[in-house]
Symmetry: C2
DNA sequence: CCCGATGGGTTGCGGATTGAAACCATCATG
DNA sequence: CATGATGGTTTCAATCCGCAACCCATCGGG
């Protein structure tokens, strides 16, 4: 079970110093973020997640357990009755910005002009505007104006 | 080759209407976003990507080709000499916000207090502050104050 | 011209992961 | 008591991945 490469000696992480890599180790597969997406949009039950994502049931079982193990989801018995429900933790809800940027990138680059897609709207039905990363001084930043400083 | 599920009948997309799902279809695996991360931080050559990520060489070959096929990367001959280089396209550079939110989530939730990690800094060496998603009126939005409106 | 290093891959293999479908147990309802 | 929903588990085939080995072209010395 202890996957050990020359790059992650015994830590379990692909790249222990990099927060991007750690996040991808937790949710960087084809399905986990879609489960989180649907949880944010109101899905709570096993069946509901399965219906919305189309994921195979055994894989869904596995993903739900992993998300629970990593603290993104909690499983509890529904207040009314005997049903299970899966609810996002604070950490899980905090993935909102990740899902949002994935959504906005997809809207810009994964649809042909004229193709329709679902949209994220606020309580008044107004679409959520694009996120623009800003530096400490408020100026926009991008890949060219930033770089990674390695862990001390 | 034509992967056809009950949920993506012949379209090739896991969920054709959802921009999140489309983005994940393009870069939602363990390695693609790490390649993009390193490309943003200056990696250009096959060997450099392999060294930084630790990805297996055959998989790196596959991922580079897919990123090229999806228009996130271009392969060209380096200006000086005969070497190849892989450079981000505009679409690829536009993944900056995605990588940034993954990084910031990881910093908040994937490190124990006191653990060190690499940091994204701007040209003055100042760390890039956390992104906060805002609605059209400037107020912060989150999973509870938004919802998905399905494609018309 | 020969040698080794470097860059950019390809190939083969075994083990891990995935998807589809079938099966199962527990309730609730009619 | 038959039926259906819920929340799984099991099985099996197909795919994917990591690793190591191999290949080939170029370049820089000696």
């Amino acid at each position: 079970m202890s996957r050990t490469t020359a790059y992650a000696p015994n830590s379990g992480w692909t790249d222990p110093d990099c927060p991007v890599a750690r996040t991808l180790d937790l949710v960087g597969d084809r399905w986990s973020l879609l489960v989180v997406r649907d949880a944010m949009d109101g899905a709570r039950s096993f069946t509901e997640f399965q219906r919305r994502t189309g994921i195979a049931r055994n894989i869904l079982t596995d993903r739900l357990r992993k998300l629970i193990a990593h603290g993104l989801l909690v499983q509890r018995t529904a207040p009314s009755g005997r049903r299970q429900e899966y609810v996002l933790t604070d950490a899980g809800r905090d993935l909102f910005a990740v899902i949002l940027t994935l959504r906005q990138w997809g809207e810009r680059h994964a649809f042909d002009p004229g193709e329709t897609h679902s949209t994220l709207v606020d309580q008044h039905g107004t679409p959520v505007p694009d996120i623009a990363p800003a530096g400490a001084d408020g100026a926009l930043v991008d890949a060219d104006s930033t770089h990674v400083r390695r862990a001390s």
